[in-house]
């Protein structure tokens, strides 16, 4: 038996997973998917910023375009913090392709003209 807090939405359901991987306490289906994922391969969306070299806004926010394994968060941060970009930057454009060969891109979440 394991207890988990669902992080999919602000409701924050308290989930219980028994030894046969039955999930209870979830309000919606997403809770069940989350619980099983969290036990086998916990993953998160990473959001951070990248330095911009040629504008007065010195940073642009970015995110991973998919969830990444939780234990890779700090490794990805290191790569992002070594990277700089040149404006203009457009929302959803790729800042770093296939980071750490995870099959995940780092994309801009804002615009700098």
């Amino acid at each position: 038996m394991k207890q988990l807090t669902c992080i999919i939405c602000p409701r924050g359901c308290q989930l219980t997973i028994d030894d046969n991987l039955n999930v209870t306490g979830n309000f919606c289906k997403r809770g069940q998917i989350y619980a099983l994922e969290e036990l086998t391969n916990p993953s998160r969306t990473l959001t951070t910023t990248i330095r911009v070299r040629n504008r007065k806004d010195v940073l642009i926010p970015v995110r991973t375009n998919k969830k990444v394994p939780k234990d890779k968060l700090f490794d990805i941060m290191q790569i992002i913090n070594k990277t700089t970009v040149l404006a203009p930057c457009h929302i959803n454009d790729v800042a770093i392709k296939n980071v750490l060969n995870l099959g995940v891109d780092i994309i801009f979440t804002s615009e700098i003209k």
């Binding site: 988990l4 807090t5 669902c6 992080i7 999919i8 939405c9 602000p10 924050g12 308290q14 998160r44 969306t45 990473l46 959001t47 951070t48 910023t49 330095r51 806004d57 010195v58 940073l59 926010p61 995110r63 939780k70 968060l73 700090f74 941060m77 913090n81 929302i91 979440t109 804002s110 615009e111």
Partner: protein, 415 residues
């Protein structure tokens, strides 16, 4: 002097939504006044995701959420005065502004006030001890990190477990700082449970409940925070002190509606510290509307956007002279309910009215009861109610038509 039908004060999520709605309702002569050099408000520094689940069924980051609205505003060519401060507003809606072009007066026919909120600071919580550098609000640290690009700290203690504090704890950790502790004076956390999980538990950051700062020590920079447990009356428990060697103390101890510009306009304010409003979000002053965090502090931006839409609708009805006050219902918060917005229902223009409120303390297994003096209008069972979560209850205006009096929002315990 500039003449304008509708002036919106604040270009954040509430202001942008209200502009879009008013425009859609046929009010095209709009000016948005924003003190920052871009639209988006606080969303611009909230680079984490989790916004927009209600409205877009997506998990967007703050800037992505804002961008959807900024794009619309730009497409419609709604006028925006950016990097513009407001020096004052008089009772005839003359708004005195200051920007790089100098001082100007805008004469508005209606105003939507959407100025957001600000963070409580060290003075507001009577923080005891020295006054070194390194004590700042969590939002200030967030701005340094996410907008300005400085790292304000290496070893941090965070006071207050509100969402901004939790999110900043994760952000500082990811950028290489060590977050030693999050302290919360109440016996329960004030943040969303998902944020406790994904911001603290994920990074093994300890949360100390019923614990607060007893003393801060430091000459020029903060050197030490002495935390202490408190009893149920909030008094320090001697001997329970814990010392943290840290260079920064972040305060996440509450948000207060930013109402400075309208506080002398002769209108009433409620216990939220925001203005008293009716169901169209009109204040006591006809033509002055308020929405978003300057009205009451929200926990979800989706709700702020919806409130902006409502204020935009209200202001457009006012400008078209369609508001006829044919009802006179006062909405009263009872017992465990700390406030309800709106405080009055004055018209039958809306079919449904959303009552928004918070409770004073965590409650389990209760009914929310909406009633008037004679009968119960609605009873909704709830497993849990938390002070950190705003509740929304929709009632039908038809249920009130007979009622020129009071309705009550109350919590009853299930037996």
């Amino acid at each position: 002097m500039i003449n304008c039908q509708l002036v919106i004060i604040g270009g954040g999520s509430a202001g942008m939504a209200s502009a879009l709605k008013a425009y859609q309702e046929g009010i095209k002569d709009i000016i948005i006044i924003e003190k920052d050099d871009k639209l988006g408000g606080i969303l611009n520094q909230c680079i984490h995701d989790g916004f927009g689940l209600d409205l877009f069924k997506e998990e967007l980051s703050g800037p992505e959420y804002a961008y959807r609205f900024i794009q619309e505003i730009e497409k419609l060519n709604i006028r925006c005065f950016l990097s513009t401060f407001i020096l004052g507003i008089d009772n005839d809606f003359n708004i005195k502004i200051l920007n790089k072009d100098g001082v100007e007066i805008i004469k508005a026919h209606a105003i939507i006030f959407a100025a957001g909120c600000y963070e409580r600071n060290a003075g507001a919580i009577n923080l005891m001890g020295d006054r070194p550098s390194g004590i700042m609000s969590a939002g200030t640290a967030q701005k340094y990190l996410n907008i300005k690009g400085y790292m304000p700290s290496k070893r941090v203690v965070i006071l207050g477990s509100g969402d901004i504090g939790l999110i900043t704890a994760r952000r500082m950790t990811l950028e290489g700082a060590e977050v030693l502790a999050v302290l919360e004076i109440m016996p329960y956390s004030n943040g969303l449970t998902r944020n406790i999980k994904q911001c603290l538990d994920d990074f093994n950051i300890p949360l100390y409940l019923s614990t607060t700062v007893k003393q801060v020590i430091g000459k020029s920079r903060l050197e030490k925070v002495i935390a202490c447990r408190v009893d149920e009356n909030g008094n320090f428990i001697d001997g329970s002190e814990i010392e943290f060697d840290c260079d920064t103390l972040l305060l996440s101890v509450g948000l207060i509606p930013n109402i400075g510009l309208i506080k002398d306009m002769g209108i009433r304010f409620s216990s939220t510290r925001g203005p008293v409003v009716d169901e169209l979000l009109q204040t006591d002053k006809k033509g002055l509307f308020a929405c978003g965090n300057c009205l009451h502090v929200h926990d979800l931006v989706d709700h702020v956007t919806n409130e902006g839409y409502l204020a935009g609708l209200g202001a457009s009805l006012f400008l078209k002279n369609k508001i006829k006050e044919n009802l006179n219902v006062e909405v009263i918060a009872k017992n465990y309910v700390s406030y309800v917005v709106p405080q009055y229902i004055n018209t039958t223009l809306l079919d449904n009215i959303t009552l928004k409120f918070r409770v004073k303390k965590p409650l389990k297994n209760v009914n929310i009861v909406i009633s008037d003096d004679k009968r119960i209008i609605k009873r909704i069972p709830k497993l849990t109610l938390l002070p950190s979560q705003m509740e929304n209850i929709v009632i039908k205006t038809l249920d009130l038509v007979q009622n020129n009096g009071k309705i009550y929002v109350d919590i009853e315990m299930k037996i």
